[in-house]
Amino acid sequence: MASILLTDDVPVVRMTVRRFLERGQHRVEECSSAAEAETLLAGRPFDLLVTDLWMPGRDGLTLIGWVKANRPGLPIIAITGGAPRAPQLFSMEEAARVGADRVLMKPVGMRELLAAVSALAPSAAKE
């Protein structure tokens, strides 16, 4: 069971991804912005971060950069459906460039999400 922080500005996506992670018997804490995510990450340890890329305010790319600087070693799964000015493939490449360990396209499938979690946080996922 891994402790996972989920960040996405869209409530329905948060609910969906959270449900998938809970089905994998992981503990999930969620927030809707990069600023909230940074506060939570500074407050207590997590095994994994799952974040959307394009959010109002500071975006997911900025959040990934913050994690790399302040929480090195924390695995990151980026999920993106692209944006009007940032097509999905471009978004995926950007996420990988700034340091996301896995980049998943929306809509996210439960199997691929849980497989990515198991691959990135194997010890926590088995507990």
Partner: protein
């Protein structure tokens, strides 16, 4: 000339048509993406805009040819003065094209007034502005309504999925079987213990019976010995009676001297007779006692023990039957659990797929926002087209507008998302 309208202003009507066509295509694409309420309305708006643009373009073409004919007629006359020269400066390059390039049609020969056409165009473009405004508002409403609906659906789905997960966890095959086997084992041990207790009880009862018979035999022997003792007493009484008889004879022979001895002899005779009677009664009572004990043992002990044994055997048979029924019940319960688990798993699969599919709302939202951007760009462009001032030389850049409208929108959803939502039992 107040009605001089540069043909370049007409040319943007072509790209405008293309833009509107793109809007329509975007709307159709959004509609094709999924059953989103209100998207059909947006598609209808797009198609209506396209149709209106085609109509406007056709009108503009007729106006252009009419304007060219008017210019040819004016060119045949000498210049009237600086005012005419000024208007010539505003004449676009297309106006200088040779007559064969100006495709005269039926509309070109009717001599329509360019000022009137321009005013009409301005009026129609104002309608387009309101139409795009309405389309943008409706699109924003669709985004909000879709998000709210998706949230409600997702909330319900999450509750259903949570209950299903709990049920599946409860019905976990290995755990359920282990519990059932444990219950069966405990029950079987209890029933075996009960059968053992009954068997032990019966054995103890048999031992008690044998012991009781042995005591009875010992009692029989003792009473037989007592009976023989009474025989001895009777024999002694008979011999005493004979002695008393002899003593009586001897007392009679002694005459007066034996008178007292005769009294003693008579007393001894009476005593021996009484002893013989007592011994006889004792022997008779002992025989009666032996017979009574045998009869009572047979009725009170033997028969009752046999009845008790019969009842206990019935209890043992009932326990065996109970065990058998218990095993059948457990087997049936196990089959039921397996069936419920299979069905629950079968139901859980589409629920997970539904949860995954709800993400369409996010993709739809992005595509609708892209559409809203196009509407906003169209409105900005329309408002920049100041048709009320025919002398204007500043026209918005149609290329950048077309670039915005035709720019790449959000990527289409993955088609194989359902395949990635297959679940396994946890």
């Amino acid at each position: 000339m107040a009605c001089a309208m540069p043909p370049r202003a007409i040319r943007w009507l072509g790209p405008l048509c293309a833009v509107l066509a793109a809007v329509a295509l975007a709307a159709v694409g959004t509609a094709a993406f999924g059953p989103v309420p209100g998207v059909a309305a947006i598609a209808a708006v797009g198609f209506a805009a396209t149709w209106a643009a085609s109509w406007a373009a056709s009108w503009a073409a007729s106006w252009g040819t009419g304007w060219a004919a008017a210019r040819a007629e004016a060119a045949a006359r000498p210049p009237a003065g600086p005012e005419a020269h000024g208007s010539q400066e505003t004449m676009p390059a297309a106006a200088a094209a040779p007559p064969e390039d100006r495709r005269d049609g039926p509309a070109g020969r009717d001599g329509a007034d360019p000022a009137e056409i321009q005013a009409t165009l301005a009026e129609h473009l104002a309608v387009y502005d309101r139409l795009f405004e309405r389309a943008a508002t409706d699109t924003a409403s669709v985004t909000v309504e879709t998000e709210a609906a998706a949230y409600d659906i997702m909330t319900s789905l999450r509750e259903v999925d949570g209950a299903m997960t709990e049920l599946l966890s409860f019905l976990d095959l290995s755990g359920s079987n282990a519990r059932v086997i444990e219950i069966v084992d405990q029950t079987d041990q209890q029933l075996t213990t009960n059968r053992q207790l009954i068997g032990d009880f019966l054995v103890r009862r048999d031992q008690d019976m044998a012991e009781c018979r042995q005591r009875l035999d010992e009692l029989d022997v003792a009473t037989a010995q007592l009976t023989r003792a009474t025989d001895g007493v009777q024999s002694i009484a008979r011999q005493t009676n004979l002695l008393a008889l002899n003593a009586t004879i001897e007392a009679a022979r002694a005459e007066a001297a034996g008178a007292g001895f005769a009294v003693v002899a008579r007393e001894v005779k009476e005593l021996s007779s009484a002893s013989a009677d007592t011994a006889t009664r004792i022997a008779r009572d002992l025989a009666s006692l032996r017979e009574s004990i045998r009869e009572n043992f047979s009725t009170l002990v033997t028969d009752r023990v046999e009845d008790e044994r019969g009842e206990l055997m019935k209890i043992a048979a009932a326990i065996a039957s109970l065990t058998e029924n218990m095993e059948r019940l457990v087997a049936h319960q196990r089959d039921t659990l397996v069936k419920v688990q299979e069905e629950s798993t079968r139901i859980a699969q589409p629920i997970v797929r539904l949860i995954g599919s709800i993400q369409f709302q996010d993709v739809t939202r992005q595509r609708l926002q892209h559409l809203e951007g196009i509407f906003a760009a169209a409105r900005t462009h329309l408002q920049a087209l100041d048709l009320s001032n025919p002398l204007t030389k500043s026209w918005p850049d149609v290329k950048s507008f077309a670039d915005i409208a035709l720019s790449e929108g959000p990527s289409p959803p993955k088609r194989d998302v359902n395949a990635m939502n297959d679940i396994e039992l946890f």
